[in-house]
């Protein structure tokens, strides 16, 4: 794929991934077939900042975990009042990385 296209993608979507993953995504995109570009471009990623806001507001009910797709953990958080309030606080710091990991899993499905 064109280096220009790949760099455009990285610029637009870099914030959805961990910094160490970006180099790997870039390398993979460069060797990818051109006809996959349309699909890659239309992928929807979850914004880590949004999930942080949701975690701050609704973390005790597990809504942040439900939002990024960790339904099982969400149920666990809901049933235990956000892990007795402790897990909810830990998740304020974990949820952004968890969201980026989910995004990485999503793009990997399209890339490989």
């Amino acid at each position: 794929m064109d280096a220009q296209k790949v760099d455009m993608f990285i610029m637009a979507n870099g914030k959805f991934f961990e910094s160490h993953q970006i180099a790997q995504i870039r390398d993979r995109l460069l060797v990818l077939d051109d006809d996959k570009w349309g699909m890659i471009q239309t992928l929807q990623f979850k914004d880590p900042t949004t999930s942080l806001i949701i975690s701050l507001l609704g973390g005790n009910l597990g809504i942040d975990r439900f939002m990024i797709g960790d339904t099982g953990l969400g149920v666990g958080k809901l049933l235990t009042c956000g892990g007795f309030g402790i897990w909810a606080i830990i998740d304020w710091f974990m949820i952004m990385d968890a969201t980026r990991e989910k995004n990485m899993a999503k793009i990997q499905l399209a890339l490989y």
């Binding site: 005790n60 149920v75 049933l79 235990t80 009042c81 007795f84």
Partner: protein, 138 residues
């Protein structure tokens, strides 16, 4: 989520749950209560009960065989009771035999709960239960 990570988290969660339960149990039934507040931390800070408030009291009632009373405190208590009873045993069996049947079941359950026709009634039930909790003033 991989097998080891999930099992580690579940193990920690079960352990914390049991410790929480028995600490609360012993404080509730010891005669010298040194003014230690028990129960939901959220409620102590905000004065509004959360959807799972009363689950500990529900589990304690269930331990004494009062099923109706435990339903009154919080129906979630029954769900928690079943989860906390089954998960540690399943976890141990899986670890001993190097299998991943609990992971398989966990993923199936996640997919089941993500279906719209299951998710919407479940959310409604949780909200109704929350409303009931606030009405009861737990």
């Amino acid at each position: 989520m991989g097998r080891n990570k999930l099992y580690f988290h579940l193990g920690i969660a079960c352990l914390a749950g049991y410790i929480w339960f028995f600490v609360n149990y012993s404080i509730t039934y010891s005669h010298e209560n040194n003014g230690i507040e028990t129960g939901c931390l959220i409620k102590q800070f905000t004065d509004i009960p959360c959807p799972s408030c009363g689950a500990t009291r529900s589990l304690i009632s269930l331990m004494h065989g009062h099923i109706i009373e435990s339903l009154y405190w919080n129906p979630f208590g029954i769900v928690l009771f079943v989860i906390m009873l089954i998960t540690p045993i399943w976890l141990l069996v899986d670890c001993l035999y190097h299998r991943a049947s609990l992971l398989w079941f966990y993923k199936k359950t996640e997919l089941f709960l993500k279906q719209r026709k299951v998710a919407i009634p479940a959310i409604l039930l949780v909200l109704i239960n929350w409303g009931w909790n606030i009405y009861k003033g737990l």
